[in-house]
Subunit: 282 residues, 2 copies
């Protein structure tokens, strides 16, 4: 099944647009999991077991694993989701981008080694840096467009002036490029930060129903009502709204998984309140 | 010692601007190293021993290791350079870029876990995605500017129009931004592809003596004379000219290290023929 169809099935089955980001930060773990051979995996497994019925996807952030040399625990985490909750798509947040021959290796890292369903990539190096990912036609390729951080404005908001065209900001150009030229396998998505509802609305008007990965809904402070209203499709989905730290570290004690569930349920419900065609399902 | 000083010492000691990129591709290894527990490390060690007196730096490309789950062999490779040839800087080619909290983890991956001297990063997400790297003031931060691949033109060559400013292509804007705002610790370098000598000359005029990492001099076909003339500083350095596949895979047989040395020596000498103030040293 293609990633987009897998995601649509997951939105339907979970009645949720929420994605939990797995950013394991040892310094914020409960004391009982601060060390140990498999402590990162154990933490993630507890979070997954506590939230699996509330989410449409999980998004492990690879940097948190590779900083610690914990690739094996990343593999264990992905395997655990795949074996226990096989209907939930896994997005590897890696933001890779390199020349074609190297991008081929990065695509193998994501899709062959880690067996994830989708990966985030950076568009700065252009088409040939993204094509090796696109060629996995049943996998999702999630291209950075307007990111959630403050520095995003430094390049992404600047106006591009092309001959014979109206000027447009970089992020709109990227959105148009992805929709018109990179989406030939219908497996592209865009990263649109939760902190920029106006830009989300603008890009929604450019790319039709293409799904958005929307990080920044938790600790980074994105406003749920405005982001759902700006970004959802007519059918009331099209968004994978991701929160990490606000859910993972809702409690620093041994009740962290229970606290994560409470936070995730609240965020799922807050999102659903603003979804189209959703009043009866609530 | 700061990375820039380390690099200057290495240019001087080696009389070379050549960097060998370590992109281990099992399919191009000699049959005797096609498998085995430490075959990637063994291949790299042979290349390093055969070329150490010809290079100013080594540049392992992390994608080739992570596609295979060979992080341990990347560690071994870096450790081997550091212990056997401690004067040679190691650049991790990783092209990382993410929001600040995640970029902090990527900086740890490069500088704490792998202990490299410099890392490549992507500027698409702006200052806060690069700052955690810059804060390691003795490490080099090598920012993508104009990359060597054909797709580079798709965004990097487009004209930005800012209010009250002349229009300029994205790569020139990035070069100016790095030189004026990101280089406060004097630890920035730029990636300038060997395939674009005109752009290299233009950016050299913008950023003074800031060193360039110049990939694409080998298999990607960059012309040595034009790139050295366009990019070198008045003192005849300022460039780290990287070739990978053309050196590593000069022979597919057991003489691969010897063949790599022949190729590396030829490229070092070809570069030196076009360096300023270099006639007497040849």
């Amino acid at each position: 099944m293609s990633f987009i169809k897998q995601l649509q099935a997951s939105w339907q089955a979970s009645d949720s647009l929420l994605c939990v980001g797995l950013d394991p930060d040892l310094q914020r773990f409960p004391a009982s999991l601060a060390s140990g051979n498999d402590n990162i995996f154990s933490f993630n497994r507890a979070i997954i077991d506590a939230t699996h019925d509330l989410v449409c996807a999980y998004k492990p952030q690879i940097a948190y694993f590779s900083a610690l040399g914990a690739e094996r625990q990343l593999e264990q985490t992905i395997d655990y989701i795949k074996s226990s909750y096989p209907h939930i798509p896994v997005i590897l947040d890696a933001k890779r981008g390199d020349i074609g021959s190297t991008a081929t290796q990065y695509a193998r890292e994501a899709f062959v080694r880690y067996q994830v369903d989708a990966v985030t990539v950076n568009p700065y190096m252009g088409f040939d840096s993204v094509q090796p990912f696109l060629d996995y036609q049943d996998k999702g390729v999630i291209i950075l467009c307007k990111t959630s951080n403050s520095g995003a404005a430094q390049l992404q908001e600047l106006q591009l002036q092309r001959i014979g065209q109206d000027s447009e900001p970089v992020y709109e150009y990227i959105a148009r490029l992805v929709a018109k030229e990179w989406n030939f396998n219908h497996n592209c998505l865009l990263v649109m930060g939760a902190t920029w509802p106006q830009q989300v609305a603008r890009v929604r008007s450019i790319v039709g129903d293409m799904p958005f990965l929307v990080p920044g809904a938790g600790a980074q402070g994105g406003d749920i009502a405005s982001i759902v209203q700006a970004g959802q499709t007519v059918a009331g989905h099209g968004l994978v709204i991701s929160a990490s730290r606000s859910i993972l570290y809702a409690s620093a004690n041994d009740d962290f998984a229970e606290a994560a569930r409470t936070q995730a349920a609240a965020l799922k419900n807050a999102i659903n309140q603003h979804r189209n065609k959703h009043a009866t399902a609530l």
